[in-house]
């Protein structure tokens, strides 16, 4: 993308975005809620038009239904209520968009491979609603990788998972990247679980996009400039980053009640303590 910008419904989402995604690399898209992270994926998918600048996907203008691009949506309504089996859902990734009666002969083999790659073969015949969150994400990854896409877009694959399941999914994403050589773009609200496998970061905030390596973007001067106020980054002994100064948007991405009356510093301290406890336990 070069100098890309999006305007939706008269509102500028972000502008001046320039970045490239190389095969076999991992790009993390970070930033506060509603900053336009998913919009970036929708642009690549051809679901939303670019308002300025240019975007090429494999040298072409983005268009819907591109099989070279795999996509895993953020919240799949089917997940928690569907009685459909994982195998059927993965099958929809293969021929879901096709009208008509015909059945493709290669389907069985393609599905088998996607299930094997994602380690879902053993539970793929159970209904989706009976699976754990991590198992469902694995099925969703199988769905997204049916065609061995060269570009894999994942919207919040770690949301609503406990730490163990997060680590499992990160390993799986890494495995998929290694075996297929795909470029992977992951939207996330926390860099830490992904930090070990990320090559590039796109940080979206206040209608701007910063791109570069983890160290180029996730540092105090870039983030302070991006947010327009001082940001501090504390690195824990295990190399995890605690970012201080944007707690509102970032430290508590899930809507759980804020402890009332705490100052930012106190809150950051709380968060830091939680991370330490987690690491030492």
């Amino acid at each position: 993308m070069r100098d890309g910008g999006v305007v939706l419904g008269g509102r500028t989402i972000w502008r001046n975005a320039t970045f490239a995604v190389e095969p076999g690399t991992m790009t993390a898209v970070l930033g506060p809620n509603a900053s336009g992270k998913s919009t970036l994926l929708n642009l690549i998918l051809g679901l939303v038009p670019l308002s300025e600048g240019s975007l090429r996907v494999f040298g072409e203008a983005p268009h819907r239904g591109n099989r070279r691009v795999g996509y895993m949506a953020q919240s799949r309504a089917a997940d928690t209520t569907s009685t459909m089996t994982g195998r059927d859902y993965v099958g929809l990734g293969f021929d879901g968009p096709r009208f008509g009666w015909g059945r493709d002969k290669g389907k069985r083999e393609v599905i088998r491979r996607a299930l094997a790659l994602t380690g879902t073969t053993s539970f793929c015949d159970q209904p989706l609603h009976s699976l754990s969150g991590g198992q469902r994400q694995r099925i969703a990854l199988a769905h997204a990788t049916v065609f061995s896409p060269e570009l894999l877009l994942l919207d919040e694959p770690l949301a609503a998972l406990d730490l163990a399941a997060q680590a499992e999914i990160v390993d799986l994403i890494n495995l998929i990247r290694d075996t297929t050589g795909a470029a992977v773009v992951v939207v996330a609200h926390d860099l830490n679980p992904l930090a070990s496998i990320v090559n590039q970061v796109l940080w979206i905030a206040r209608r701007q996009v910063r791109s570069g390596s983890v160290d180029e973007v996730v540092n105090e001067s870039v983030l302070s400039e991006l947010y327009g106020h001082p940001i501090e980054i504390i690195v824990t002994p295990r190399g995890r980053r605690v970012i201080v100064g944007l707690e509102e948007e970032f430290a508590h991405p899930h809507p759980h009640p804020h402890p009332q009356g705490l100052t930012h510093a106190e809150e950051a301290h709380e968060h830091l303590r939680e991370v330490y406890e987690e690491e030492t336990s």
Binding site: S82, T83, T85, L92, G93, G96, P97, W101, H143
Partner: protein, 276 residues
């Protein structure tokens, strides 16, 4: 008159063909109604049909014409307005009340209406003519044909709209297609069980089928089979024992759902016991 004589009379024969076609279409479309959690939309379209039928009779047309116009109109309105499923309830609710209001107006304008009203509300399967059977069968088979051809895209758009859109399906178009199918199915089902009992064929068999299988195709087939079974048995009991056929069909379809839930609870208990 013996039972076999009764069963071979033309009006029972007509009814038999009509219920068969309608039950198959309703079972198949019903699977998607349950899958998409749009039972409320199905309910509303039926009631909108009431206004259509009343209006058609008022201006001297066949009720089925009014049903088709109003149900399709309401279906498309709900399809456009509520393409994103979140807004659906409000859109459906407003459409429903507006149409019911119109229905009340039409009835008050037409004095000799009581009999026709009754058959629209509760169905009058034993009164269908050979021409009605032709129309009902043609519409039902048309619905089945379209459902089978667009089965995968409908399923995909219903369970995961985001991914389906990314893969090039128009969610709005699929929503409109589904609503049109639902509207036509409602119209034909109203011929059998009436506006108020349309649910019995559209929702109960599919909801029961979903309990027994996790495979979409099997669930759809099972929903069609349960609907067909309820319709045939309902017609038979209505002729043999008496009482409105629509009552029998409703009672049987509802019992199939109840039975499925009881079976499911037993199964869950067995699994729990096995695990403990």
């Amino acid at each position: 008159m013996s039972l076999s004589d009764l069963l071979s009379t033309p009006f029972v024969q007509h009814a038999f063909y009509a219920v068969s076609a309608v039950a198959l279409a309703a079972g198949a479309v019903g699977y998607f109604v349950v899958l998409r959690h749009q039972a409320f939309a199905a309910h509303a379209i039926g009631h909108v049909g009431f206004a259509g039928a009343a209006g058609a009779v008022l201006i001297g047309l066949s009720p089925i014409v009014g049903l088709l116009v109003f149900c399709l109109g309401a279906g498309l309105l709900i399809g456009i307005g509520g393409a994103s499923l979140d807004e659906n309830d409000a859109v459906v609710g407003v459409t429903l009340t507006a149409a019911l209001g119109l229905g009340v107006l039409f009835i008050s304008l037409y004095s000799g209406y009581a009999n026709a009203t009754y058959s629209i509300l509760f169905g009058q399967i034993l009164g269908v003519t050979w021409d009605d059977v032709g129309l009902v069968a043609a519409l039902s088979l048309g619905v089945l044909l379209v459902v089978s051809l667009s089965y995968r895209p409908l399923l995909f758009a219903s369970v995961d709209a985001q991914s389906a859109a990314a893969r090039g399906l128009s969610i709005r178009a699929m929503s409109l297609l589904f609503m049109a199918l639902l509207a036509i199915t409602t119209v034909v089902a109203i011929q059998i069980v009436g506006v108020l009992l349309v649910f019995s064929l559209l929702v109960a068999p599919a909801a029961a089928a979903e309990v027994f299988t996790s495979r979409p195709l099997r669930a759809t087939g099972l929903a069609m089979a349960i609907a067909l079974g309820s319709a045939w048995a309902g017609l038979f009991f209505g002729v043999w024992i008496g009482g409105p056929v629509s009552f029998w069909i409703t009672a049987l379809a509802a019992s199939s759902y109840l039975g499925a839930r009881l079976f499911d609870r037993n199964r869950v208990r067995h699994v729990r016991r096995a695990l403990a």
